[in-house]
Subunit: 440 residues, 2 copies
């Protein structure tokens, strides 16, 4: 394995996302080798304070307070700029470009402010400037917009681009608690940025809307020339009144294009969104983006818009693309996630779940007891039962749900039920799907 080349990653800024990127790069090192045929290794990170305790294992000698030293280090091939802020981040990024190094970033404010200059500089230097993590954290909106929906023009893009304000609105709505009270909780949970106006006054969402407008329409919009409003004026009364009218109030970024004159409007503001929209029902810290394309129609993406893991996952997907670019690989290289030998198909007895059954039975006393007994013989226990007579006929419908059992037991139980006296038609069985705690 010694002939595999190594690509060394330097991380500027070792906060939440920087540490997450370091962690996931290390944890999955053998996977990167498999799909990229290179070692992708994080080697140095810059911090403000060398002595602060960190949750991620990192050797002391990998840390420095000098970001320039990482950018200039000839052993480092790719830079992740995760320090945030504008001026220093911009200087470091341009400096990396000048050394021929590609940069992966999550810095929406910087791109919003200086994107045009930075993209031009990257192109001139022949390097990548990748920014999936800058908009909507773990939701792959940048790649979807630029690559997957390349055949489209976009009359409308809109969505929830800031998780903190959405968390506050959702709690106000669900619990009837006032803005100030929920804000206190959000601060305590560390959801609110140090510069609170970014979250509360809509500027964070506006940075992202400006980036999306550029990608969709090629127009760099000046933040000062668009509507940017936050959530501080929303009262519980407004949330209730809106709901009575068939809406939810959400802080949304909206990018519309009028194809008659190619005029574009971009804004971030609280709006009444019809409850039928997925965006209206995207709650808590989740983000959601609805893209209406001229070819595809409407595609909606939802997911976690911030947080260590989702955001560093996007940083890493960019790193993988950058490495593919450096290595001359294309997007079809190495399809699969896992070698086949590691996985095999589960047996019926391992596949657990709850079930829904409908039986048509003769309408006689004791029939339900017979059904329950038959199921119990196969160790299938009942969660709910309802029985209703079936019109004029002498039959009744029994609708059952079970507690957790498995595919083998339920199949055996179904066979027995088919044979059971008083059961008039083959029973109907559907699985009850459990999305689990990980899903919403």
């Amino acid at each position: 394995m010694n002939d595999i080349p190594t690509i060394r990653v330097g991380i500027l800024g070792f906060g939440t996302v920087g540490q997450g990127t370091w962690k996931h790069l290390q944890e999955n090192s053998s996977f990167w080798e498999k799909i990229l045929a290179v070692r992708l290794v994080p080697v140095r990170a810059s911090v403000r304070n060398l002595n602060k305790e960190r949750k991620v294992l990192i050797p002391m000698e990998s840390l420095t307070t000098d970001s320039n030293a990482i950018v200039d280090d000839p052993d480092i091939d790719v830079i992740c700029e995760l320090i945030g802020g504008i001026e220093e981040a911009k200087k470091l990024t341009l400096r990396a470009f000048s050394h021929g190094k590609s940069v992966v970033t999550a810095n929406k404010a910087l791109i919003c402010e200086h994107g045009e200059e930075l993209f031009n500089a990257a192109e001139k230097a022949g390097v990548h400037y990748a920014f999936e993590a800058s908009v909507a954290g773990g939701i792959p909106i940048i790649k979807v917009l630029r690559e997957s929906l390349v055949a489209n023009e976009f009359p409308l893009i809109y969505g929830i681009l800031n998780g903190t304000s959405n968390y506050i609105l959702t709690r106000m709505e669900n619990q009837g608690v006032g803005f100030e009270e929920v804000l206190k909780d959000a601060r305590r949970l560390g959801y609110v940025e140090a510069d609170e106006a970014l979250d509360l006054e809509g500027f964070d969402a506006a940075h992202k809307a400006v980036i999306l407008a550029y990608l969709a329409h090629g127009l760099w919009v000046d933040l000062k020339s668009i509507t940017v409003e936050g959530i501080s004026k929303i009262s519980n009364e407004d949330l209730e009144a809106a709901f009575a009218l068939g809406y939810k109030i959400k802080l949304i970024g909206v990018i519309r294009r009028n194809f008659a004159n190619n005029h574009i409007s971009v804004g971030v503001y609280p709006a009444l969104v019809p409850v039928a929209e997925i965006i209206a029902r995207t709650d808590g810290v989740y983000n959601g983006i609805s893209l209406t394309g001229s070819v595809v129609g409407t595609v909606v993406l939802t997911g976690r818009g911030a947080g260590q893991d989702p955001t560093s996952g996007s940083v890493i997907s960019d790193l993988v693309d950058v490495v593919k670019g450096i290595r001359g690989m294309n997007s079809y290289s190495k399809l699969i996630h896992v070698a086949p030998e590691e996985c095999k198909l589960a047996q019926a007895i391992e596949i657990c779940g709850c079930y829904y059954l409908r039986l048509s039975v003769v309408d006689k006393p004791g029939q339900l007891a017979k059904v329950a007994e038959c199921l119990a013989e196969h160790e299938v226990s009942l969660a709910t039962v309802s029985q209703s007579p079936k019109g004029a006929s002498a039959s009744a419908n029994i609708i059952l749900t079970t507690h957790e059992t498995n595919e083998h037991s339920i199949a055996q139980a179904m066979k027995s039920l088919e044979q059971l006296g008083g059961v008039k038609e083959p029973p109907v069985l559907f699985r009850i799907f459990d999305p689990g705690p990980a899903s919403r």
Copy 2:
């Protein structure tokens, strides 16, 4: 412009998707030049019947009944295999590979059946075999799974992978109509495939689930070894009983992985899905896929899962990726959709919409009339009005919604309202978002 190279596309099968691909390639020819610096030109298509009328303008001499002639044509660089079916499609695909030609396909049945062989053959031949259009039409699930979420392992992937069966279930549910009756409509609308079992018995969704299982876990699953059930046993009574229990019945594909033993379960069946899930509320011909990744958490994508435009849009996004591969371009080449000069920012007066206002006013007769007059002076007309006294104070809250007006008029009206006698605090204004007919 004569020094721009040309990449010639041959289309096998000129049905719905083939014609859509031809149409969109032609309509946007100048755009492909701009982003790819090549001419991307459809030159030939194979058909079963030369004399059939078509909705797309195509020169007679571009048509042939001989697909092999297109594959073998040395002037053709890339092949779109859109004939469907297994045996002939497989032969043509392998033949294209043997000529060093990349193939873009929408053929889920072929990949499900012979994917392993075909991907290996493509790799050996050093060509691309691209298949975004094979799963969920316009939803970019393949790229998101393979590229954007590359840092993840997937405990759960599930969703609605067949639009026809979802259309039938949605109509049964919303209108209380029986399965057979809705099926007749679906046939008349051309929603049902010639081989009806593909849609109704779950096999189309199963082909897609097998492809997703391979991408997520590297395991090729034999269709015969997994649960595949369709929608024909679902009654209106079941839909109602499920809803009363807090569920909707959806035909879903489910791919679970148990990380303790790396056992994978794959199945397609009608299941009771909790109503809170986006997938449960994905209705009509829409598809939806929920991906739970070890890093990103849960990401959900919804959109049109079939149809000419969405599916050919995915074919084209693959073509663009293939061309980038052929030309040695990477995914960061040419960011933007449109040259900046074509677009400009809309003025306030052009940005139209309806608004929600909340005013705190003195609780006196005639106050509402004064507010309405003030708005009318700025040509803002009212849609709904409600007024409620505000506890013990001598004030009342007025909540208004307007008919359509524009940002300029409403801003002027707000200024006047602030000055208006009896208005106690600056009025609160929110926009009412209109997703338009294109959205759901």
